[in-house]
Symmetry: C2
Subunit: 191 residues, 2 copies
Amino acid sequence: MDKTKLGADAFLYPMPVSLVGAMVEKRPNFLTVAFCGIMNPHPPIIYVALNKAHYTNAGIKENSTFSVNLPSAEMVRIADYCGLVSGRETDKSEQFQVFFGELNTAPMIADCPLSMECRLLQILDFKMDEVFIGEIWQTYSEEKFLSEGLPDPRKMDLMALTLHDNNYWRLGEKLGRAWRIGKTLKEETCR
Amino acid sequence: MDKTKLGADAFLYPMPVSLVGAMVEKRPNFLTVAFCGIMNPHPPIIYVALNKAHYTNAGIKENSTFSVNLPSAEMVRIADYCGLVSGRETDKSEQFQVFFGELNTAPMIADCPLSMECRLLQILDFKMDEVFIGEIWQTYSEEKFLSEGLPDPRKMDLMALTLHDNNYWRLGEKLGRAWRIGKTLKEETCR
């Protein structure tokens, strides 16, 4: 074993790519966020971590709602753009068809294959980022992105991000079914 | 726009795949976890969410350390296996070459292209899961997985998970550089 120490950094690969939506100063705003994840399955709890300098944060606090929109691979340019310009200077919502759901104040992107509207539960305060933890309240997609009523990753064609090399990726080869492909190994080791 | 409501569920795609390590009853144990993410870049803060029934949780609490190991695509069977069997009944550490780092009590998997050892900062308590939030203290990889001193996703060949269809995936086509591919759109909209 010849391990190299890389120090302390955000070395988690890959990350989902989301566009976090909030109403800021009465206008829908969207920010590219890869620091997001699930914290509890039922009820579904999600977090998004946003640098404190971002324009979006105040809108989430004001309305206690936010959305998490997943852009498709063909939206890569616009998804990246939402992380390059601030809603303070530019109305990014003009780039999208925006809709609202049951919570009324969480703007969502109709162009995205999947959108979740969330009710804010809690904020964690770290050195650079505020972590907004919310309950996923309702989810919106379209029939063309579903298989047997559930989101189909191939049909949605979502993106992943890797940091440090800073690349967006398509999902590639299927490696196997979760909670299944390891079963043969379980049978071997447990007998 | 013809949106379909899917209800409230953990509809985030894709997720990273990690093997979370902890010392439990003086033995290294590893659990497959996809509910993980970065919460702050500097210092790097990471969380892992574990169902309360899991054997690993007590070990993280006892030692206030844990590790996050990223398995490569060729480790898909063993990675899935670690989510199928409990450390209560089976010593999963026998499947791996285990090593320790600077924190001494966070067991890591030498077979994984990348391992982070973490110092526990905080625990959030949700209905089904406990969320362990930790500071990434040190990171271990090998020269063969790096490009210009940083982890190279192609060389590491890590996995992603999608829920509901429950599949493990390789990363596929590169779609473009983050903080760059959207720049042309920025130039168009900001002039």
